[in-house]
């Protein structure tokens, strides 16, 4: 009885030597070993829960819909669902890592798409990159300035730039979508190599390069430091204002890229392209990917896995023929479940 009680308190890597009785060392060792094994399995499950969930989801899809394995169209649409969301998720992750939140990224997608299409129609394709980039980055800079210089809470600062982006988006064309007829842009939207669209390769490139930046460079470590404790990192000599500024600007730049990809894929600009749903999804997918809403934790690769999980779930919703009207409810429930799960996990750890 005594023994069992002492074993139940064990944590991985912890050996309760004080409870070792000379009478049954063998029995104790066996229990210790098996307990260790159990803990290891549990650790493994907890650590790689996302990969396991992904594997379960993929196999479920294959069992339910065998055509999932072979169709090139399905692969294409999977990548399409991943790409824009995935790019936004990277930006959102970086902002979450420094302990902020970005509500404006969805609206910046809308602004980039409508502005891009409008510029392409009225002034030619050549300056589209410059104009849209300037507009989007200035919004990111605005959030950054409000947060660092005027000590705004990130929630309100990004809400401000979100509403400004929404207003500009509607003003450009008076709320009407614009159709494009441009071969270069359309080629970029549909070109693919063996079922992997070209723009998805950009996404993958960004994921890899930013992962390296975040894990191997000083800048990346500073991001985590600011998220972990802003005060401590400030005292240690990190330029916290600059780091925070950069994070919001990176998020805006990535949202800009997402908007341009949207323009190419649909060959049109739409004021309702981005908006609330993208923003919501980018937060949920990051949290699924293990980023803490309190900052300082998580990495981009996991967030990308979270994005893929999300995209697969949506494909499943489509495959199961669930009404699109219920889509938002599905997303909301998913968000609640995910944050609840993350909360439980944190609680168990502490």
């Amino acid at each position: 009885m005594e023994l069992r009680r002492s074993c139940s308190k064990l944590k991985p890597g912890q050996v309760a030597i004080s409870n070792l009785t000379p009478l049954n060392p063998f029995l104790f060792l066996m229990i210790l070993l098996s307990a260790h094994r159990i803990f290891r399995a549990k650790d493994f499950l907890l650590k790689h829960n996302l990969i396991i969930a992904l594997a379960i989801l993929v196999s479920l899809m294959i069992v339910l819909f065998p055509e999932f394995l072979f169709s090139k169209g399905i692969l294409l649409s999977f990548f399409h669902m991943c790409t824009i969301l995935g790019i936004l998720v990277i930006g959102q992750s970086i902002v979450l890592i420094i302990g902020g939140i970005d509500l404006s990224n969805g609206s910046i997608v809308g602004l980039a798409s409508i502005l891009g299409a409008w510029v392409a129609l009225s002034h030619g394709v050549s300056i589209i990159l410059v104009v849209t980039f300037l507009a989007c980055v200035s919004l990111g800079t605005l959030s950054g300035l409000l947060i660092t210089r005027a000590s705004f809470p990130p929630l309100i600062a990004t809400l401000v730039s979100m509403s400004i982006a929404e207003g500009l988006t509607l003003t450009v064309t008076g709320g009407a979508p614009l159709a494009l007829n441009n071969d270069a842009l359309s080629w970029f939207g549909v070109a693919n190599v063996g079922g992997v669209p070209v723009y998805s390769m950009i996404w993958i490139g960004i994921v890899i390069s930013l992962y390296v930046v975040l894990s191997k460079t000083v800048f990346g470590r500073h991001l985590y430091a600011v998220g972990g404790s802003e005060r401590t990192s400030f005292v240690c000599g990190v330029d916290t204002s600059r780091i925070k500024m950069m994070a919001y600007m990176i998020s805006a730049v990535l949202a800009w890229l997402g908007g341009l990809i949207y323009v190419c894929y649909t060959a049109s600009g739409c004021p309702r392209a981005g908006g609330f749903l993208y923003m919501l999804d980018s937060i949920s997918a990051s949290v699924i990917g293990g980023l803490s809403l309190y900052g300082g934790r998580g990495n981009i690769l996991d967030a990308t896995l979270g994005t893929m999980f999300f995209a697969l779930l949506y494909m499943m919703v489509i495959f199961l023929n669930i009404s699109p009207v219920l889509d938002a409810a599905f997303r909301g429930i998913l968000l609640l479940v995910v944050v609840l799960y993350a909360f439980m996990k944190e609680k168990r750890k502490s």
């Binding site: 509403s163 889509d327 909301g332």
Partner: protein
């Protein structure tokens, strides 16, 4: 001079800044529009329009005072209106329709409250989730019903026999709600607990304030107020369509901020949120009168929120300034 040296003038300005701004604003727009703004018809119109936003921002203000946030208010309004209209058209009478739709909204408040009281998940994430759920349910109810024009007509027919001055009924409800909630917040134990929880959750927990219960009750209060606001909305606008009420989301948060209610709870008065709502609605009315492109309104509102926050940060005494998320 003695006023200045005692700091009384400064504290007076700090206390009534929204009122002073509001007065200056009214004078300015009256001057710009050359008095056409001041017509009785326009004022009645604005004040009765603002009733819905006013009640919603009272709800939001109560939640903000307790240190939380409720993004689901506007979608709950849409959900209430759609369930109410569908049940009412099904021939079940007002009482049943009101009960069912109120129960639905209170259920969403229950979910919000449970999350807020049992977990430490940021309130805006939880209410973002319930907002999406409510929004989607609202679309689903309207889609299942499939007879939107009939709904519109029936609501209109039902609301038509209201007499000419009936518009002011909405204003009376608004004032009543304001008096009740402001009494609750300023003169009851519940109200003091709300301020305590918003001011410092940990300290109030250690001093024996039932923090969890208060957080839960605040969300239930917010849901109940949303039910009232939705009824006023139906009464005033006699209209329900997909996406109804979406535009209130930003405004309900903007109104307390403009009024100078501290966004992280514990400081601020209810009347300031109401003044903020009035300010916002009159500003929009003024922009319409002047002929500004309505598509840019959202950007203007965002800028005003930014100015409001900057002013409130500048007016906050430095020892009260905290860096919070």
């Amino acid at each position: 001079m003695s006023l200045l040296s005692n700091g009384k003038l400064k504290s007076f300005v700090q206390e009534y800044d929204i009122l002073l701004m509001f007065a200056a604003f009214l004078v300015a727009i009256t001057a710009i529009t050359g008095g056409s703004w001041l017509s009785v018809g326009n004022i009645v119109n604005v004040v009765s329009r603002v009733a819905v936003l006013g009640i919603l921002s009272i709800a939001q203000c109560a939640v903000i005072l307790s240190g939380q946030m409720d993004l689901s208010v506007s979608s709950c309004l849409a959900l209430f209106c759609s369930i109410y209209s569908v049940v009412f058209l099904g021939g079940y009478g007002i009482v049943v329709a009101l009960t069912i739709s109120s129960v639905a909204i209170l259920l969403i408040g229950l979910v919000n409250g449970m999350f807020a009281s049992r977990t430490t998940i940021p309130a805006f994430v939880v209410t973002l989730g319930t907002m999406m759920i409510a929004h989607s349910m609202h679309l689903y109810v309207l889609k299942v019903a499939r007879y939107l024009p009939q709904i519109q007509n029936a609501i209109y027919e039902f609301m038509k026999p209201i007499p000419k001055g009936g518009e002011l009924f909405a204003v009376f409800i608004w004032i009543a709600v304001f008096l009740v909630v402001s009494f609750m917040l300023s003169s009851t134990r519940f109200g003091r607990y709300v301020y305590a929880v918003g001011g410092n959750e940990k300290v109030s927990f250690y001093t024996g304030v039932p923090v969890r219960k208060i957080k839960f009750l605040v969300y239930m209060l917010s849901s109940a107020l949303v039910c009232v606001a939705s009824f006023v909305f139906l009464y005033k606008f006699a209209n329900i369509a997909p996406g109804t009420g979406e535009w209130y989301l930003l405004d309900t948060i903007a109104a307390p901020i403009i009024g100078g209610v501290y966004l992280f709870g514990g400081r601020g008065k209810l009347w300031k949120a109401v003044m903020g709502a009035l300010f916002l609605e009159i500003l929009i009315n003024f922009l319409r009168l002047v002929g500004v492109d309505p598509y840019i309104f959202s950007a203007i509102k965002g800028t005003i929120i930014a100015i409001g926050v900057i002013v409130s940060i500048l007016l906050t005494p430095s020892y009260l300034r905290t860096r919070t998320r």
